[in-house]
């Protein structure tokens, strides 16, 4: 497995949106939603993509699906360059990569029966022949996600949020994809239902050998489900690590602040000591971000170098990458030399 080629490989990804203002649509700035992102996902693993608003995680997810234009960078899926696919390649890609959405209420067309919602990928890619086979396949998918087959003839409004999310997952599975991009799939669900859907995603991965890109902001959920995690801030990757490493030994100041800010469900004062809401300031806007490290305005360890130059992403230990001058041995020397 370690030597196998990754299923998805992203390098140098940039997605910039120009802002236009005024009567003549003058260029008023650039939203640098994604500004230099690189990562890979191995087959069968779940990669978490976390960060707060403005970090670019959703845009990255959309870029993977090729639903958002790239300003720069390359994306490889199963060895094939999909940065600018032609129409047939794009259609093939759309079979192998699917998305599960955050909003269980908006993601399903209220005028379509569940049968047709789940079966749409089958129709689009002509995967079944005849009504009987179509229906059978949809029923099988319903059962796979833990719903009763007879629900196929009902409409979305008859179901609860958790059930609708299951329908969305069934739809994503219909075309037998290899990669599923989950964009905050449990954020809009009640806590007790979240666990049902999380378990379902886990089981499906084991059973079908799926690979997930799991975009979320809830670090507890991410820790539960993901094997490796990418932490993003203001369009850039600040840290990548295995699950255990990230939560036990975060290196980037932002990751540390992020983990410290999560409320812990135990009132014991000793446990509460780990809660550290030290990070001040607001999450910045991706419009015309400042030069240097994206985090420097809020970083307690910021130096002159951090304000000037963006740090490189370096591997500080096996499978653990950090983009911070403090962990860059060359820079550290330079910084020390400047004192």
């Amino acid at each position: 497995m370690p030597n196998a080629e990754p299923l998805l490989q992203v390098s140098g990804l940039r997605v910039h949106f120009p802002l236009q203002a005024g009567l003549l649509g003058r260029h008023a700035g650039t939203v640098k939603a994604v500004d230099g992102v690189a990562f890979h996902i191995d087959r069968g693993e779940t990669l978490g993509l976390v960060g707060e608003s403005g970090c670019g995680k959703s845009t990255t997810g959309l870029a993977m699906l090729r639903m958002s234009p790239l300003t720069d960078g390359r994306i490889h899926f199963d060895g094939e360059d999909i940065t600018s696919p032609d129409k047939p390649a794009l259609k093939r890609l759309r079979r192998r990569m699917q998305m599960v959405y955050q909003d269980p209420f908006g993601a399903l067309n209220p005028r379509m029966k569940v049968l047709d919602i789940i079966g749409e990928p089958l129709r689009v890619h002509r995967l079944t022949r005849g009504r009987a086979a179509y229906r059978e396949k949809v029923m099988a998918l319903l059962e796979k996600v833990g719903l009763k087959a007879e629900m196929a003839d009902r409409y979305p409004h008859e179901f609860s949020g958790g059930q609708r999310q299951r329908i969305g997952i069934a739809r994503a599975l219909a075309a037998d994809p290899e990669l599923i991009i989950c964009d905050e799939p449990v954020s809009a669900l009640d806590v007790s239902i979240q666990a049902q859907v999380i378990n379902l995603l886990e089981d499906l991965q084991k059973e079908l050998g799926l690979t997930y890109l799991f975009i979320a902001h809830d670090l507890a959920v991410v820790r539960h489900l993901c094997h490796r995690i990418v932490v993003m801030y203001l369009g850039r990757v600040v840290e990548v690590a295995d699950r255990e490493t990230l939560y036990d030994n975060p290196q980037h100041p932002y990751t540390q602040a992020l983990l410290g800010a999560i409320p812990i469900a135990d009132p014991d004062p000793e446990v509460q000591q780990h809660f550290n809401p030290s990070l001040s300031g607001e999450v910045p806007s991706p419009i015309d971000p400042p030069p240097g490290c994206p985090f420097h305005p809020r970083c307690p360890h910021a130096t002159e170098l951090c304000r000037r130059e963006a740090p490189r992403a370096l591997e500080v230990e096996d499978r653990h990458t950090v983009a911070c001058h403090l962990h860059d041995p060359d820079r550290a020397q330079a910084m020390a030399g400047n004192l």
């Binding site: 009640d190 806590v191 239902i193 800010a261 409320p263 469900a265 009132p267 004062p269 990070l279």
Partner: protein, 335 residues
């Protein structure tokens, strides 16, 4: 830090008895808040925890009589505040109370603020309405409030419009508005759910500090157990419009008794547990409140359910001074 001493001798600020609020839905009556009783003591932070459909927000709105009247109505109960039943007051009286004695802040800072009015104008409103500050000192007081909520550059913010501020900043303004007249009770309905986690942490710490500084009480409504664990002195757990368990934070988290509370604890991914361990979800869905199941509302999803649970609804029974539960089963024995 939670205050460990839940002194019974502390004065009761708010005493809610058998509150019952219903809504008309397609000809059916939905019992959104069903015979709910609890109290809030002076200087404490009480959390009301529940998921959607539990009735926690409607409870809060009922206290201040903010229920839209059709389709909802409060059909029973008493809400005693300063020895007055709020449900008995006329419109004028309750309006005077809102914002001055009891204030409420909401989840959506984007829609709670009027987008066409400047911040200063909106912030001044409670002060002007309740006449607690002479007109010439209003601006100064507004600046002071903004400083209290740790909003940088207050002069600039007063003249700004809501869309010029971020979500966290808007919520700070909401808090400033809520605390402007130094109310004895602040009701915060999911105040940080729409905010990023680092901002959420700042806002919650701020809320807690301000409430303690004013010696006010806070009713914190949320679904986030982590938030509750850190800030709440006492907790009400609500399900299907009723309180199913009530107790101190220590009791609820370390000795939960009601199967729903247990279920919530077990179904959450926790940072302080081993990663990748399997979650135990609560099976099923929350009930349809227009046609609730007989007996205990939780029984269809309860792994401890017995025959009695299906036919008789358990009342709240007291276990310790502050710990109550509404359940027929001794879950400790069965676990």
């Amino acid at each position: 830090m939670n205050m460990k001493a839940h002194d019974v001798t502390r004065r009761t600020l708010l005493d809610v008895r058998n509150l019952h609020t219903v809504f008309e839905k397609d000809g059916n009556e939905v019992h959104a808040v069903n015979q709910v009783s609890f109290d809030v003591k002076e200087g404490e932070i009480l959390a009301i925890v529940g998921e959607s459909g539990s009735g926690k927000s409607i409870t809060a709105m009922s206290l201040l009589r903010l229920i839209p009247s059709p389709p909802g109505r409060i059909i029973g109960g008493r809400v005693l505040f300063n020895d007055e039943d709020l449900l008995d007051l006329d419109d004028e009286q309750i309006r005077r109370l809102r914002g001055r004695d009891i204030a409420m802040i909401f989840q959506e800072p984007m829609t709670s603020l009027n987008p066409s009015l400047r911040i200063g104008r909106q912030l001044a409103e409670p002060l002007l309405v309740h006449g607690s500050v002479p007109k010439d000192q209003v601006r100064e007081r507004c600046l002071e409030l903004l400083r209290q909520v740790r909003l940088g550059d207050p002069e600039k913010r007063l003249d700004a419009y809501p869309h010029e501020l971020s979500g966290g900043m808007r919520q700070r303004v909401m808090i400033a508005m809520g605390l402007a007249c130094l109310p004895k009770l602040l009701i915060a309905d999911e105040p940080t759910t729409a905010l990023d986690v680092t901002v959420q942490a700042q806002i919650l710490e701020l809320l807690r500090d301000l409430v303690r500084a004013n010696n006010s009480s806070m009713m914190l409504i949320t679904h986030d157990l982590g938030v509750v664990a850190r800030y709440a002195d006492r907790i009400n757990v609500m399900y299907a419009g009723r309180i199913v368990e009530r107790g101190t934070a220590e009791e609820i988290f370390h000795h939960p008794k009601h199967p729903y509370t247990l279920g919530l604890m077990e179904s959450m991914p926790r940072l302080d547990q081993a990663p990748g361990s399997r979650l135990t979800p609560i099976p099923g869905q929350p009930p349809d409140l227009s046609d609730p199941p007989p007996g205990c509302p939780f029984h269809p999803r309860c792994r401890f359910a017995e025959a009695r649970c299906r036919s008789e609804r358990p009342p709240l029974e007291q276990l310790t001074e502050h710990h109550w539960k509404a359940c027929w089963v001794d879950t400790d024995a069965k676990r």
